[in-house]
Amino acid sequence: MNITMGNQISLSIRNVSKTYANGVQALNNINLNIPSGMYGLLGPNGAGKSTLMRILATLQEPDEGTITLGELDVLRQKEEVRQTLGYLPQEFGIYPKSSAEDLLDYFAVLKGITNRTSRKEVVERLLRQTNLWDMRRQKLGGYSGGMRQRFGVAVALLGNPKLLIVDEPTAGLDPAERVRFLNLLSELGENSVVILSTHIVEDVSELCTHMAIINKGHILLEAAPQQAVAALEGRIWRKLISKSELSILEQDCKIISVKLLSGRKLVHLYSDESPGNGFELIVPDLEDVYFSTMAGFHTSNQQVEEVSI
């Protein structure tokens, strides 16, 4: 089946803020433009990713702001958004006594696939796709975490969604599953908006055409991964040091990450010029982008710059 260019829709988030009743500000004036394709939302736990995802999935209300999906007002035309939405939440439950086939069939009707024949076909293909076909008659209560996650994927893919929101989807998958799942997502992204929230940098670096880094309710960076990496070129330095050296280094330098490597510490730091002292310049990767952004070495000026690219 061919998807025409007319289906290339984008999601626009304008001035969205959300403060919970207990005073936690989950989102602070978020502005994002999300084009078709796979979009990575990267941030540590508690950054506000899930809140934003739920808002996009019509399940939560922002205090202010507007969100549009193509022509649709996401906050007001919820019903229409849901008709084209696939949502895989970070945590969800199932009815332990239902079988995967029955429950998927149930959701197929909820997603408007009322024709019996096409529903049967859809259910079968999705179960095969998620490799659950052989266990379709089993009770979901007996599924492992990964199988459950795949079931969730199958539900999210029902009805050929134009907006697919996947919240920390790779957490329960083993490495091989993860790769293939992400591949699938990126292919879907060819004619849909796919938003992937994650705290794992690789998820984004490998597949996403666009990304944003979010922390404490703020968007710290919005960029295309390659460009963001390119922007750091010549600024990331590496050195293997001992434990005692670290505290001295911390006072003088912009350390962005410290990793243990066979008993010693591998330090990456951000510097426009060579910090000397045996530091070597490295080719930055997305992880460096993430950490330097989180550490506050990427300024909002850069962000604006990069958005305008």
Partner: protein
């Protein structure tokens, strides 16, 4: 240390929980309401002091009872929260021992519940001392009263209940099961305890919270004196009960300790749990090219499809569980088993007719019927499950993002619940039909089943279901939702007590419907329907609001949901909401127009206020001489279809007093239009109080003693629409029945309209007086309502196909146009109290001498006609012979629509509800013919009540009811044999059980059912056995002779006593006094009987007798009195086969004294049973020890 930390965390966690404090407030509020709403009234009436220890204890158990149903989440959460919140992986693996973990949690739950229930005492203190209760109803403040309640009741109860709820929740790892535990304990306390309370100790012991024993002590086990001062003491069955249940609680906790394991809680059945190895196979993700490109189609038809699917899914989840269809089926089967036992009236089986069966099975959802309470609770529970299941399972995280509109989500839950209720009603229908078949029903009216169950009852169920769902959606907290729904449920049951009476204000309320053979649903259906339509409109509005506030996603607070709701408004929402609001307004106005404009709406308190006002204004005229009614001449037109009657009447009034009368006081009836009041001499109206119904006319010329005057009037009684209590049933298309005093004017002040009970008299500022005037209040002997003797004549017209019955002989009947007319005239004066009946009657006729016997019955209800005629004949024969001739030439039983079993003996015409004709005495396992006995009793009222018309003072019941039963006893013995007499006596013993306390006024001042219907007849019978029936009845004959005229003063029990005294020999005067003048009890017993054969045909029988006699006054003080009484000693031979009693070998009255004594008698044949007072003539509450089996000594030779 760990224990303390675990305890502290749990305790602090729940202490911060709003639900805990909600329970606290609710329980405190309940305690307050029980005092102020319920017991204050009794205390004002003088039954007890409001702060008496037993009242405090009673309120405590009442509150506890309700808390059982709502408060289980404290224990349940403490035991199972870790599983629900999936915290168990942390807590179970922490290095705390089972004892520390469970112990800490339990102790916290126990303490929290203790705090919640301490609020009972708080509510109590507040009600007693800070709500302005007057000091007169309070005794001194006694800390011991509160302490005993706390230590003996509240504390152990809390422990027992918490332990059981905690154990159940810990073992099943589900907090909800603690609710089940609470419900089971509720059943044990409320249902089993009540059912078994007559089975001696069992009822007391099975009750986990001591509800039954304390309530029965308060109701009547303790004497008034004890109620006010006696403290609870931990002894006897209370102690045993506490020990048993504390034991059970400890066993449960121990069992839980051993059974509980810190393991992964596995849900579902284990066998199917193993994931197949295939799960670990290399994944075959395909590219998106292979993804199905099918897109959903959206529109109304999809939504309907989704509605169907979600409804079915929700329903099946609910139905499959053990609390779903299986429980409903068990309930239906239980109801089926209970049915034959319930399908009885006064122990007599009813015919297994469909309408009776339905009447037994069906109650409104908001009622106090055992089974329907369970259904209501289940509806609330189901509603909670339906609203919460998806969220609790976590599926909502996905499902909420699916393109399903909120109305489908809400409506599907409602449909699932509705489907469950429909199936419940199907179960009920099957139950009823099976029971009918088993009981040998001839026809099973399936149409009626369908109409009643699915036309009427279902509406009631659905309204409540909608309310429960709405509450759960609105509250958005499962346990609090249950609590709120339960409070609303309780509130609607007790709405009247809480002062909310108008059914427009009580959700789902309506006047009840009734169905009888004679009129079908009659006029009861229309008001029911209007009210239900009104509530359906409300239900629609609730549904709209529930849809708008349906929780979807994370926005749970009401404010954010209201915010969201703004976006959910669509055109169809507005349309539906507008339709429902419009319907509410329209239907509400229509109902209001009916209840408050067409009919006078008076709340109970307004009605009482009016009665008080009537007394305040017009009591002053009570003693003013008024002419007396001597003749009534009426023309009555009954229009059954229009539910209207018109009466034109002329009263002949005579001044029997010794003074000239200057003014006539006329009291007119409420609810009818009285007009054209005129006298046959000049008179001027000086007062017209239509509201209170009092008119005064001043005669321009005095009415001299002996002179008479005529009063004419017209009354129009038209049922206008319906009132808050339903449609007036006086005139209906198929059956009309009204009494003279309900509509027609009466002469003088009517003191029966006064408020009687002490509390309300006090409240409305009336001077205190006893509820019933004292026997020794001479002024009250002068007159009583309806006591005039009148000659009566009436022409009554009705619809062409109906027959009218009125007092007197039917002189003529004719047809004019489409209407039939009947002319009735009495041939002897009657009491001024009579009914008019009109219906399509069939007549069964009989004759006794020159008296025509007529039974007007609904065609088809023929089962008991012959039996009734025979009893009437025998009764007329016996009473005429024993007492006095029957004064009229007719006697009639007339039926009217209704399945109540009360009969009323107006002069000549005795009314009997349809139900009386549908009794099935043939199948009575006791072999007792209640129909014959009741007919005898009612016919006896033609003497006792209608000829001898007692003054309205204490002891009046002795002259009417007691004498009527005494007469019926004599008639049955004489005409039907001693067996029937014994069966009647054992029926009366069964029907009117001994009260729990012996404290009572003497029989001469009889003022309750027990005295009127049980003690009175048996005392009269005993006396007749001692002095002889002839003497006794001659005294009664003289009594009636002297009082037949109906002239003032009217007879009282003192007149009866005087006559009885005159025929009682001196040697038995003591007995007369003991029976009537004092409240005397005997305790007679035969310890053992030894017999030996002296020679052939000569046996010596030695009876070892123990006896005592004592008096109890009205507040319960016992005084022992010396015994020196004549008591019958009797020896029976062995009973032959098919006899219950052997031949009498010896029977003689002996003088028995208080000591232990041995009586030796000689008999000629071998004895078998012997003892004293075999017929239980003397008032001895222990019946069984009078007679014993004879034991044999070795014979002399």
């Amino acid at each position: 240390m760990k224990f303390r930390k675990i305890f502290h965390l749990e305790f602090a966690y729940q202490l911060r929980n709003a639900a805990t404090w909600l329970y606290f407030m609710v329980v405190a509020g309940l305690a307050f309401l029980w005092f102020i709403g319920n017991y204050l009234h009794d205390a004002r009436d003088g039954y007890f002091l409001l702060n008496a220890p037993i009242v405090i204890a009673a309120v405590a158990v009442l509150c506890f009872q309700l808390w059982l149903l709502v408060g289980a989440s404290v224990a349940g959460d403490a035991a199972a929260r870790d599983v629900h919140t999936r915290m168990y992986s942390l807590t179970y693996t922490a290095p705390a021992s089972k004892a520390e973990y469970l112990g800490g949690r339990f102790l916290a739950a126990f303490l929290l519940n203790g705090i919640v229930l301490l609020s009972i005492l708080l509510g109590t203190l507040f009600a007693l001392y800070f709500s302005g209760v007057e000091a007169e109803v309070l005794g001194p403040f006694r800390p011991a009263a509160y302490l005993t309640t706390f230590i003996y009741i509240i504390l152990p109860n809390t422990f027992i209940v918490t332990a059981i709820q905690f154990s159940l929740a810990a073992l099943t790892r589900q907090a909800m099961v603690s609710y089940l535990g609470g419900a089971l304990l509720f059943v044990a306390a409320f249902i089993l305890g009540q059912v078994l309370q007559d089975e001696g100790e069992w009822g007391n012991l099975i009750d986990p919270i001591s509800f039954t024993p304390i309530m029965s002590q308060l109701s009547n086990e303790w004497s008034p004196l004890e109620k006010n001062i006696r403290l609870l003491v931990l002894e006897g069955s209370l102690l045993l009960n506490r020990l048993i249940w504390l034991g059970i609680a400890l066993v449960m906790l121990t069992f839980t300790y051993f059974r509980f394991q810190f393991t992964y809680p596995i849900s579902g059945d284990r066998k199917q749990q193993k994931p197949q190895q295939a799960a670990l196979e290399w994944l075959k993700w395909r590219t998106s090219e292979s993804l199905p490109q099918v897109r959903g189609a959206f529109g109304f038809s999809t939504q309907l499809r989704q509605l169907r699917l979600i409804s079915m899914k929700s329903f099946l989840q609910l139905a499959k569980g053990i609390t779903g269809l299986p429980l409903l089926a068990v309930l239906a089967i239980l109801m089926g088993f209970a049915l034959p036992g319930n399908l009885k009236a006064k122990g007599v089986p009813l015919l297994p007719r469909t309408d009776f069966v339905l009447d037994t099975l069906i109650e409104p959802v908001a009622s106090l019927d055992f089974f329907w309470i369970i259904i209501a609770l289940l509806i609330i529970y189901y509603a909670g499950e339906l609203v919460w299941r998806e969220r609790e399972s976590g599926l909502s995280e996905i499902a909420n993002a699916a393109p399903v509109p909120e109305w489908v989500l809400f409506l599907s839950r409602f449909l699932a619940l509705s489907l469950g209720l429909v199936l419940w009603l199907v179960f009920l229908m099957l139950t009823g039909m099976v029971a009918q078949t088993v009981m040998g029903a001839v026809t099973i009216e399936i149409g009626l089943y369908l109409q009643v169950l699915f036309g009427l009852q279902l509406v009631d169920c659905l309204l409540f279901a909608m309310l429960a769902l709405f509450v759960h959606v609105l509250v958005n907290h499962k346990f609090v939702g249950h609590l709120v729904a339960l409070l609303i449920f309780g509130g609607s049951i007790f709405a009247t007590n809480l002062g909310v009476e108008h059914k427009l204000l009580i959700f789902g309320a309506s006047p009840g419907w009734s169905y009888t053979d004679m009129v079908g649903f009659g006029a009861s259906l229309a008001p029911w329907l209007w009210f239900k339509l009104y509530w359906l409109a409300w239900a629609l509005l609730l549904a709209v609001v529930a849809r708008l506030l349906w929780v979807r996603g994370r926005e749970g607070s009401l404010i954010s949901r209201i915010h969201l709701a703004k976006n959910r408004f669509t055109r169809s929402t507005v349309l539906v909401a507008a339709t429902s609001v419009g319907s509410i307004l329209l239907l509400g106005s229509f109902i209001f127009y009916n209840t408050n404009v067409l009919n006078d709406y008076l709340s109970t308190s307004e009605a009482m206020e009016q009665r008080a006002e009537y007394e305040k204004r017009y009591r002053q005229y009570n003693d003013r001489p008024q002419p007396r009614l001597t003749r009534t001449n009426l023309h009555v037109e009954i229009y059954p279809e229009q539910r209207e009657a018109e009466i034109r009447g002329i009263y002949q009034l005579v001044n029997y007093s010794t003074v000239a009368i200057d003014s006539i006081h006329l009291s007119t009836a409420a609810g009818v239009r009285t007009s054209k009041i005129a006298f046959d001499r000049p008179a001027k109206q000086v007062l017209a109080d239509n509201e209170l119904g009092h008119q005064i006319y001043v005669l321009s010329e005095l009415l001299q003693p002996g002179d008479s005057l005529q009063l004419s009037f017209e009354v129009n009684a038209k049922a206008r629409g319906f009132s808050n209590s339903g449609a007036d049933a006086s005139v209906m298309a198929n059956s009309s029945n009204f009494r003279n005093y309900e509509w027609m004017p009466a002469i003088g002040y009517q003191d029966y309209r006064e408020l009687d009970d002490v509390g309300s008299r006090n409240k409305y500022g009336l001077s205190p007086r006893p509820a019933t005037p004292s026997l020794y209040d001479e002024a009250a002997h002068k007159d009583s309502p309806f006591s005039e003797r009148i000659s009566f004549e009436a022409v009554v017209g009705t619809a062409g196909d109906q027959t009218v019955v009125a007092p007197g002989a039917l002189r003529r009947s004719w047809i004019t146009g489409s209407r039939r007319y009947f002319h009735y005239v009495t041939d002897a004066p009657i009491r001024n109290e009579y009914n008019f009946f009109s219906a399509n009657y069939a007549v069964h006729e009989g004759k006794w001498r020159d008296v025509a016997i007529q039974i007007y019955y609904d065609p088809g209800q023929t089962g008991n006609l012959e039996r009734m005629v025979r009893s009437i004949q025998a009764s007329l024969d016996y009473y005429t012979q024993q007492f006095d001739p029957y004064p009229h030439r007719q006697i009639r039983f007339v039926t009217y629509s209704g399945y109540s079993f009360g009969n009323h003996a107006a002069p000549i015409n005795i009314t009997a509800g349809e139900g009386f004709f549908l009794l099935n005495p043939k199948d009575d396992p006791r072999g007792f013919d209640l129909v014959t006995a009741v007919v005898a009793h009612e016919v006896a009222h033609q003497w006792w009540g209608n000829q001898l018309d007692p003054a309205h003072v204490e002891g009046a019941g002795l002259l009417s009811e007691s004498l009527a039963w005494y007469s019926a006893m004599g008639m049955l013995e004489d005409k039907y044999g001693p067996e029937q007499l014994q069966r009647l006596q054992s029926f009366l013993r069964e029907e009117y059980k001994n009260p729990r306390t012996r404290a009572a006024v003497p029989l001469l001042q009889a003022n309750d059912w027990y005295q009127n219907y049980r003690k009175g007849p048996f005392a009269l019978y005993a006396l007749s056995q001692y002095i002889g029936k002839e003497k006794m009845n001659s005294a009664l004959q003289r009594l009636i002779d002297k009082n037949r005229s109906g002239k003032s003063p009217q007879p009282t029990s003192l007149d009866l006593y005087r006559e009885l005294k005159s025929v009682t020999p001196d040697s038995l005067q003591y007995l007369l006094q003991d029976l009537f003048e004092k409240n005397t009890f005997w305790e007679l017993g035969t310890k053992q009987v030894l017999a030996k054969q002296i020679k052939l045909n000569n046996w010596q029988v030695m009876l070892e007798i123990q006896a005592r006699k004592f008096m109890v006054d009205s507040i319960g003080v016992e005084t022992k009195v010396p015994l020196n009484d004549w008591v019958e000693v009797v020896v029976f031979a062995p009973a032959k086969a098919n006899q219950s009693q052997g031949e009498v070998l010896y029977q003689k009255k002996h003088l028995i004294n208080s000591d232990k004594q041995t009586i030796t008698v000689m008999v000629q044949r071998k004895p078998a049973r012997a003892g004293i007072d075999p017929d239980n003539l003397l008032i001895d509450w222990e019946l069984k020890d009078n007679m014993v089996e004879v034991q044999f000594e070795k014979s002399a030779h």
